[in-house]
């Protein structure tokens, strides 16, 4: 989910950039040099996951999975998502340079929120894990679309209807991201629980 260049007003772009810088700075501070490769290659996986298209009836949508990235990386999701978005704009011209800050906040802030809201409940029981995974995926998209709507609304009050349309259009995406994230988290916990452990595993 991203906003293209040329839509948002100056103040919104600048506020987005400032928040993105702050989030990225905190995220970078939390990554030590033993862990940076991990964050980088998970960011590559996040980039590739966005190329996965799933069917929704006759149409299709690509996965976003910022919820998973949040669960796996916490605050480090900020630099990871910033990196992936920058590469997306270089390769595909999705988003772009001036909107990079806003787009990073739109994707990464919900990821961080999901980390703190739902991770503590994951792993208590298989059912709880799936439900919390589902909520993580859904909430991440819900928050993202709300943030995107806000960015539009702050740009021009006339964008109000457009903002509503953005949020409504993302409703099916929320459900699908919820389902996929739920299954994905359950899968990860089964085959490779270290990746999702709350204390940072010492990958050695």
């Amino acid at each position: 989910m991203h906003i293209s260049e040329g839509v948002l007003s100056g103040p919104v772009l600048i506020a987005g950039a400032a928040l993105a810088v702050a989030g990225t700075a905190i995220g970078l501070k939390k990554i030590d040099y033993d862990h940076i490769v991990h964050v980088a290659i998970l960011a590559s996986a996040f980039f590739v996951a966005a190329l996965i298209h799933v069917n929704i009836g006759p149409s299709s949508a690509h996965l976003i999975l910022n919820g998973i990235v949040g669960l796996l990386l916490g605050f480090s999701a900020f630099p990871a998502i910033l990196t992936a978005l920058l590469l997306q704009s270089i390769f595909f011209q999705y988003g772009g340079l001036t909107a990079l800050g806003v787009n990073t906040v739109v994707m990464a802030a919900p990821a961080v929120a999901v980390h703190y809201l739902f991770l503590p409940f994951i792993g208590r029981s298989p059912r709880m894990t799936f439900i919390m995974g589902f909520l993580s995926g859904m909430a991440a998209i819900l928050f993202s679309s709300l943030l995107l709507g806000l960015a539009l609304w702050f740009t021009d009050e006339n964008f109000f209807k457009t903002s509503l349309a953005v949020i409504l259009a993302n409703l099916p995406v929320m459900v699908i991201e919820g389902i996929v994230t739920g299954f994905c988290v359950s899968f990860l916990l089964k085959v490779y629980p270290e990746i999702i452990s709350k204390k940072k595993a010492n990958h050695d």
């Binding site: 490769v37 991990h38 996986a45 590739v48 190329l51 590469l87 595909f92 340079l97 389902i179 990746i195």
Partner: protein, 251 residues
């Protein structure tokens, strides 16, 4: 496979130092995004067209690159004139097309095309390796540059792994549909990507330790200082700043 169709070339823009191109792209796109008058945005658009022409980009690849943008713009032209409040230009029953909606759509069209062209001409004309080098020399945090280069390096590797996994699933009769089974399958595929990414990260980290990695990351400078670079940068920055100030005072 990700492609960088514009990264290789022989134009003077391709030969410029990454640092200069990043700064120039940043100044121009920021100024353009802050602009709000048609007479000014036209100048930016002209500059961006000149830059793209100077970079001698492949036209087909450029058109392909602009496709998502045009899809987005057609959506804008469909939604904004109908939803914005203001002087009604035309109405049919309850459907009204407003002047502010049309004007804003036109403005967004100008701006986004300008910024995308600037980005393509100045940033997409270098490899990500050069971009990382440039950002490093602009004193962005080491860790961030490192993250960018590593992430870039392993995208192709992980994409190949994804294609292999998907192929294997299809060989075993998996047909993507709109049902829970399909979503579960894709969830496992995505999960597998994250698992493999994490395992690979451990191996890469080991390989780095084997080669004496000690927390310091190096990029190699391959660009010589060149007077033309600084003239170009000054020209672009002065132009952007000039237009910005002119717009603030005059309008």
């Amino acid at each position: 496979m990700i492609e960088e169709p514009f990264a290789q070339g022989t134009s003077f823009i391709h030969n410029m130092e990454p640092r200069i191109k990043i700064l120039a792209a940043f100044a121009l796109s920021l100024a353009a995004s802050l602009c709000s008058h048609f007479s000014i945005i036209r100048v930016y658009l002209l500059i961006s067209v000149i830059l793209v022409t100077a970079a001698r980009l492949n036209f087909g690849a450029l058109a392909k690159r602009l496709k998502p943008l045009f899809l987005f713009l057609s959506m804008i032209w469909f939604i904004l004139p109908l939803t914005f409040e203001g002087r009604v230009l035309y109405h049919y029953g309850r459907i009204r097309i407003t002047e502010p909606g049309i004007l804003l759509s036109a403005m967004i069209t100008f701006k986004s095309i300008t910024i995308v062209l600037v980005f393509t001409a100045l940033v997409a004309t270098m490899t990500v390796a050069s971009l990382g080098n440039g950002l490093h020399r602009l004193h962005l945090p080491d860790k961030l540059v490192f993250l960018l280069l590593m992430c870039y390096r392993y995208i192709a590797v992980i994409e190949e792994e994804y294609n292999r996994l998907l192929r294997a699933a299809k060989f075993r009769g998996f047909i993507p549909r709109t049902d829970l089974h399909s979503y579960k399958t894709f969830a496992c595929l995505a999960g597998m990507l994250f698992v493999r990414a994490s395992l690979r990260a451990q191996r890469v980290h080991k390989a780095m330790l084997c080669r004496g990695f000690n927390g310091k990351f190096h990029t190699l400078d391959v660009f010589l200082p060149n007077r033309f670079n600084s003239i170009f940068l000054r020209a672009i920055v002065c132009m952007s700043l000039g237009l910005f100030i002119y717009e603030q005072i005059w309008f």
